[in-house]
């Protein structure tokens, strides 16, 4: 309604023909913006018809909790992809955060803040290294984060000697298993980080520059944007989010595991892409990515309830990722 008003009051009103085109455009804009949300609603409706067990609060809460870890990681990955970068290291950073934080989270040793602070610091450091290597070293982010993916996993195995680190304090376990007002803690963090990331990306200089770098890096430099610095910040934020997911996952399974988070990087990329983030840069939103993660969650859960084998689930997930990108590239061709 509000944007309709905008057009009417506009100084550069263009007459009827253009106004109608504008209206049509707005409809397609609406669909391209909320289309993924409509698909998500459609899936939920379909699933509730197919399986009576799907549509109850307990199951739905379960779905959201399951994807909250991936969802948080995917928010950082979204920002990275908007700059035309990629982050392959998320899963390994989760593992490294997991084993190190767990070793400081035994009952009666350190206050809760210690494992949390150390975990977050590891994520920030890893992200900062990713960003610095790719921005300052002029190394493609694919390679820089591939290196981090391999090295962080190795470090996690080295640190834990390849074994899980158990015996975690109750207060630490709350991060993954606790509930506030009946809502699982990871879901609360997922929503809070969603709001923060969304504000960051849509309302701050940091966010505007993220889009600008992805939209046209050369032009961004000419506009006076310190591209390297912002790239480092973006990868650092992605590292921080991986660490948050890593801490909560560790608490959830009550152990630091060097094998944790395998394939998370790919699931996070998938969530971002299904949510409309374009690998060619400049396009993507946090709400879109959150829906993308939820779609993956509903798909997994729904197919589980329908007793579809996990092999088929993987095949379907693969098809959906490709379909989402196909849709995106056709949309781009049109405009």
């Amino acid at each position: 309604m509000k944007s309709q008003e905008n057009v009417a009051n506009h100084p550069a009103m263009l007459g009827d023909r253009v106004k109608r085109a504008g209206w049509k455009e707005k409809l397609s804009h609406l669909f391209s913006r909320y289309g993924i949300f409509l698909i998500f609603i459609g899936m939920v409706v379909l699933m509730s018809f197919l399986s009576p067990a799907f549509l109850n609060v307990y199951n739905l809460m379960n779905v959201v909790r399951q994807i909250s870890f991936i969802g948080i990681v995917a928010m950082g990955v979204t920002m990275v992809i908007i700059t035309t970068g990629i982050d392959l290291s998320s899963g390994s950073v989760i593992a490294l955060v997991s084993v190190v934080a767990a070793s400081f989270a035994h009952p009666g040793e350190y206050p809760l803040i210690v494992p949390i602070a150390i975990g977050l610091a590891i994520g920030v450091l890893a992200g900062c290294i990713n960003g610095t290597i790719s921005a300052k070293g002029n190394i493609p982010p694919f390679i820089a984060t591939l290196g981090m993916m391999t090295a962080a996993r190795g470090l996690a195995l080295l640190y834990s000697d390849g074994r899980p680190i158990g015996n975690l304090s109750d207060s630490f376990s709350f991060l993954g298993r606790g509930e506030i007002l009946g809502i699982p803690f990871p879901i609360i963090v997922f929503l809070i980080m969603g709001i923060i990331s969304h504000l960051l990306l849509s309302k701050t200089k940091f966010g505007k520059y993220t889009y600008a770098i992805g939209g046209n890096e050369q032009a961004a430099r000419i506009c006076g944007i310190n591209v390297d610095r912002y790239k480092i910040l973006i990868y650092t934020y992605a590292g921080l989010l991986s660490a948050i997911a890593g801490l909560m996952l560790t608490a959830r399974v009550s152990a630091g595991q060097p094998s944790m988070g395998q394939m998370y990087e790919l699931d996070a990329i998938a969530a971002a892409v299904i949510g409309g983030t374009s690998l060619s840069g400049g396009i993507g939103t946090i709400p879109g990515t959150m829906i993308g993660a939820l779609i993956i969650g509903v798909l997994n859960n729904g197919l589980d309830l329908l007793n579809v084998s996990s092999y088929w689930q993987q095949i379907l997930k693969g098809a959906i990722i490709v379909a989402a990108v196909l849709l995106d590239s056709r949309k781009q061709k049109k405009s």
Binding site: A12, V18, G22, K203, K205, Y209, Y211, G215, G224
Partner: protein, 496 residues
């Protein structure tokens, strides 16, 4: 019948969206001669050559090659029919050998196996290079050659097709005088074999040295063809310029005050050297010169995109060091770049974001971008520049070229700069937007801004500038006041 023509083109027209690139062009090349094609930037030479080489199809007109009607499906077809081309931009495959580059796409194979006969390829290349006296190892990687040798290999490649017509588009732009002489020897021996050549160059002396006939184009129109012997440099420039200035430019008198920006002995290795000039508040300084004369490189250095290797920059009398565009912006400079798509617009982003990206600091409140003040500022610019967009959320890529350009101008105006550098501010912009941009430039000058404008369009340079400097091969060739400047004088300085 008299003379024998290898190529006869009549009434060739070609239109691109919004531009008539060629309008009833005629070009007739005699067998065994060198035919020069002359014209300013944008006269239509490249378009015409791309038609002859099958890269474009003309909208109308007739083409005859060796007396028969010519219809080309693409460059490969042109090569098969006996037309080859040396392209203006070198396009070697850098990590392949000289021999592989020369035989790219037509490698000799054993029988029908598809297995490349490398030995024969290298041997043939050796023979070819020897016959042309080009001393380059056929097995050397292209990447390891000097630019001049790369150019000579390109020439050898064009010759190796045994074409009856060879198009040479600025073949000497990358080579030294010695190699130019070598190229001319090759051309003379080709002439003896009755091969015809279409020669494009901005270097007048070369034209008169090697060419038999000259055809001149101007603004996509055919101007005339004459034997080189009947022309001299002055006459040729007159043919190239010729037009009276029909356009009216919105140039208003502004009070010219103290020096805003001055540049002393600025150099960047390999791009330009020892350039000095100044621009005053209220003044529009035009920079003329051919593409590749170093004009864009010069202003890129001033703006900190590629910092200069030596020399000094002064703003309002104070020496400044500019290491990055951010520095330049801090010093209240602005640069509208030459290539809107490549270095100007953020195509996937909205008009609003494109407009405010460089001045966001102004709109931050409690760490967040304050959307109301953004909207207010954008609306002001939209009204001031008469930008036609349905709303601020519109993606910039959906706007016309003129409106895109105005959005980018607005981006810089939001920074309220003292020195505005405009590189080809009206390229690819429709007539209406063009005159609006000119009007705005006059207005900004009256507000006391210093403006530097680069343009390939001489009428625009003459119409808008208070003073003009002319660049040629990285040097400042001369400086003209508005009163003394004329198209002929500028061209004399720009072409040597």
């Amino acid at each position: 019948m008299g003379t024998e023509y290898i190529l006869e083109m009549e009434n060739i027209s070609k239109e691109f969206p919004g531009v008539k690139a060629l309008d009833k062009i005629r070009l007739k090349v005699k067998k065994g001669t060198v035919h020069a094609l002359m014209g300013e930037n944008g006269a239509g030479k490249s378009t015409l050559m791309k038609i002859i080489f099958g890269m474009y199809t003309p909208d109308s007109g007739t083409m005859k090659f060796k007396g028969k009607e010519l219809k080309l499906s693409g460059p490969k077809d042109a090569l098969d029919q006996g037309i080859s081309m040396i392209h203006q931009e070198l396009s070697p495959v850098p990590y392949m050998t000289v021999a592989e580059n020369i035989f790219l796409g037509r490698e000799p194979v054993y029988g029908k196996t598809g297995w490349v006969n490398t030995k024969k390829m290298i041997e043939d290349t050796r023979k070819l290079l020897q016959s042309l006296q080009i001393h380059v190892d056929p097995t050397a990687k292209m990447n390891d050659l000097s630019i001049a040798n790369m150019q000579m290999v390109e020439i050898a490649k064009a010759v190796s097709y045994h074409a009856d017509l060879i198009i040479m588009d600025e073949p000497t732009s990358a080579i030294t005088e010695k190699e130019v002489e070598h190229l001319f020897e090759i051309i003379r021996s080709l002439k003896k074999k009755r091969v015809s050549i279409i020669y494009i160059s901005h270097k007048m002396d070369e034209i008169f040295k090697i060419c038999d006939e000259i055809t001149v184009l101007r603004d996509g129109q055919y101007i005339g063809t004459q034997a080189a012997g009947e022309l001299n440099q002055d006459l040729l420039i007159q043919m190239m310029v010729g037009r009276e200035i029909k356009q009216v430019f919105h140039k208003e008198k502004a009070e010219i005050k103290e020096v805003a920006l001055s540049v002393k002995n600025l150099s960047r290795a390999g791009k330009f050297s020892n350039v000095s000039f100044e621009v005053r508040k209220g003044e529009i300084l035009g920079i003329a010169g051919l593409m590749g004369s170093g004009r864009t490189e010069l202003i890129e250095s001033i703006f900190g995109i590629h910092p200069p290797t030596s020399g000094e920059i002064y703003l309002h009398g104070n020496r400044v060091k500019i290491h990055s565009p951010a520095d330049a912006i801090r010093h209240k400079m602005a640069l509208l770049t030459e290539d809107r798509k490549l270095t100007g617009a953020f195509l996937p982003l909205s008009v609003r974001d494109n407009m405010t990206i460089s001045s966001l600091d102004r709109f931050i409140k409690y760490g967040l971008v304050h959307s109301k003040s953004v909207k207010k500022a954008c609306d002001e610019q939209i009204e001031r520049l008469n930008i036609k967009t349905p709303n601020l959320n519109q993606l910039i890529l959906n706007l016309s070229g003129g409106n895109q350009q105005k959005v980018l101008l607005a981006r810089w105006l939001l920074n309220d700069p003292d020195v505005l550098i405009l590189d080809e501010p009206t390229r690819g912009v429709d007539v209406g937007a063009k005159s609006e941009i000119h009007k705005l430039m006059s207005k900004l000058a009256r507000e006391g801004k210093a403006i530097i404008m680069i343009s390939s369009e001489l009428p625009e340079i003459l119409g808008m500038s208070d003073r003009i400097i002319v660049m040629h091969e990285g040097n400042k060739k001369g400086e003209l006041t508005r009163e003394e400047a004329s198209q002929e004088k500028i061209l004399e300085l720009a072409y040597q």
